[in-house]
């Protein structure tokens, strides 16, 4: 299918990050993660739980970006206090953004520069420290570059593997970074020392493109496959059901 675009490839890669998760709460932050998670629920992971972004768990998949669709069915009440409980309980997988991410998966969404008077104050710590030490985490980085894939994060909000390892076995037992999906490729940490590995490159991207746009050395196997393309059914779901208004095209730079 030659007319599949980069955003659609990313959406499928995001959905794949949740494969096998079963009956847990997923919290996708950002437009493409929202679409990817709705795609996973609509296809291979129907038991996942997702909020409506307000205070309710929604039993059915409705379109993103204010597009017309079926009425939302609420299956349970989930205000912030309950989310915090779920989070510490561990039955959750979050996909956050990362203004910076390093080779061990340390993430920064707090600020750029010195903490006392930062060059740029960003979102703040938000839930990143608690998320990453309590349950699985993935990241979506729509702007892969040497400024986002960095040797060392300015501030650590979400924990990477080197930091949890230093905390010891007890504290690290719930930590897991499943996937990093960027606009260039897909990454995991399934390596001997848990440093980031290139799992696949998106169609139209070369391994060299990924290397040039990363400030640290990635683990790269001899044959890096291409990220998989959506099936006809997935493409139909993305284009006609989940994101008929095409908000996916606004989030990424190919």
């Amino acid at each position: 299918m030659s007319d599949v675009d980069r955003a659609e490839i990313c959406i499928v890669a995001i959905a794949e990050a949740f494969r096998g998760d079963g009956e847990i709460l997923i919290s996708p932050i950002g437009n493409l993660p929202q679409i990817g998670c709705k795609l996973a629920i609509s296809t291979f992971e129907p038991d996942l739980l997702m909020t409506d972004g307000v205070a309710f768990l929604q039993a059915n998949v409705t379109p993103v970006g204010g597009a017309a669709g079926p009425e939302k069915i609420v299956e349970a009440y989930m205000p912030y206090r309950e989310i915090f409980n779920m989070l510490w309980n561990g039955r959750r997988h979050v996909m956050m953004g990362a203004s910076q991410i390093d080779k061990y998966g340390n993430q920064n969404i707090a600020c750029i520069g010195e903490f006392a008077a930062p060059k740029a104050q960003l979102l703040g710590m938000r839930g990143a420290p608690g998320n990453t030490i309590n349950h699985p985490t993935s990241y979506w980085v729509p702007n892969h570059s040497t400024k986002t894939f960095v040797e060392k994060v300015d501030v650590c909000s979400g924990l990477g593997y080197d930091r949890v390892r230093a905390l010891g076995k007890e504290s690290s037992r719930f930590h897991c970074i499943k996937r990093v999906v960027s606009n260039l490729g897909v990454f995991d940490f399934d390596t001997p020392d848990n440093t980031m590995r290139l799992l696949s490159v998106h169609p139209g991207v070369t391994v060299d493109d990924v290397i040039e746009n990363s400030s640290f050395e990635l683990v790269i196997d001899t044959d890096v496959p291409e990220s998989r393309s959506p099936t006809d059914e997935e493409l139909h779901l993305i284009r006609d059901v989940i994101d008929p208004n095409g908000i996916r095209e606004k989030e990424i730079r190919a």
Binding site: K119, L123, R126, C156, G158, E170, S171
Partner: protein, 280 residues
């Protein structure tokens, strides 16, 4: 007992240097009428504890803040609070930036009169590096796990905003999320609740299910009727966020002239005048 009072009377009970907790979340159900009254006062050197929204940006812009204790400061539809950002980037405020769950735990510890509550959240992150006052504690049981001992966040006063209240100090929220407003009240020495409307106690049941009657009168010292008092933040089911006004506010951060005009038009005036001007 009749706990009704005015916003001016609330602010008269506050003093410079106090630690104040502000309820709500981001740009949602914030006690903005009380905050506007604070802006018109000579209060300064405040420590603000909040799931932060525009109240933090405004108080910072007015130079009233010494320290902010927060997990985030956001306008929701505008992810970064621009006046707060300016204050952070100029280094003019002390930032105690915590994980959102740690903030809840600090308030809960204070509410329960405990010195701290243990949590895994924060361990290993730079929260611990930039907040060296935070200590860890070892589980006294066989597991021996090391945990953050999140210290109680004791408040001199708490300000919250409810949809409905009675004059005795019971409160009711009618939106989807109560947030952590009970914890702010229970963590504070003095507790002030503004509301959209003061009603008779027997009328709460007509407004919403009993699940919405979450503030009981042991949690409050003062009740202030401030119709549209959460504006421009949202206060469902009474009203949504005034996005156009919020956007106008956000544009003041980098534009001193726009700020002066915004301040003169909306903040250097009484609450009544404010409400009239935004209604135009």
């Amino acid at each position: 007992m009749d706990k009704r009072m005015t916003a001016a009377e609330v602010v008269a009970e506050l003093s410079s240097g106090m630690t104040l907790g502000i309820g709500g979340w981001g740009s949602r159900r914030k006690p903005m009428a009380l905050v506007r009254e604070m802006l018109r006062s000579d209060l300064k050197d405040l420590t603000i504890v909040a799931y932060g929204g525009p109240e933090i940006g405004l108080l910072c812009r007015y130079g009233k803040v010494k320290k902010v204790i927060y997990g985030f400061v956001s306008l929701d539809s505008i992810p970064l609070e621009p006046n707060f950002r300016q204050a952070r980037q100029s280094g003019s405020i002390e930032a105690v930036e915590l994980d959102e769950g740690m903030l809840q735990w600090g308030l809960y510890a204070a509410a329960l009169r405990l010195p701290f509550l243990p949590t895994r959240a924060g361990l290993g992150s730079d929260v611990m590096k930039y907040q060296p006052h935070l200590k860890t504690v070892k589980s006294p049981y066989e597991d021996g796990e090391e945990l953050v001992a999140m210290p109680a966040l004791e408040l001199d006063a708490a300000l919250i905003h409810m949809n409905r209240a009675d004059e005795r100090g019971n409160g009711q929220f009618l939106g989807p999320d109560f947030f952590f407003d009970d914890l702010f009240c229970m963590a504070a020495k003095r507790r002030f609740m503004s509301c959209e409307k003061i009603i008779r106690t027997e009328d709460f049941a007509k407004e919403g299910s009993f699940h919405t009657q979450r503030i009981n009168r042991t949690m409050t010292d003062g009740v202030i009727e401030t119709p549209n008092g959460a504006h421009f933040t949202e206060c469902p089911s009474d009203y949504g966020r005034d996005e156009a006004f919020q956007s106008k506010y956000a544009k003041t951060a980098k534009d001193p002239d726009a700020w002066q005009k915004f301040k003169a038009d909306y903040l250097d005036v009484s609450e009544d005048e404010y409400q009239q001007r935004i209604a135009r």
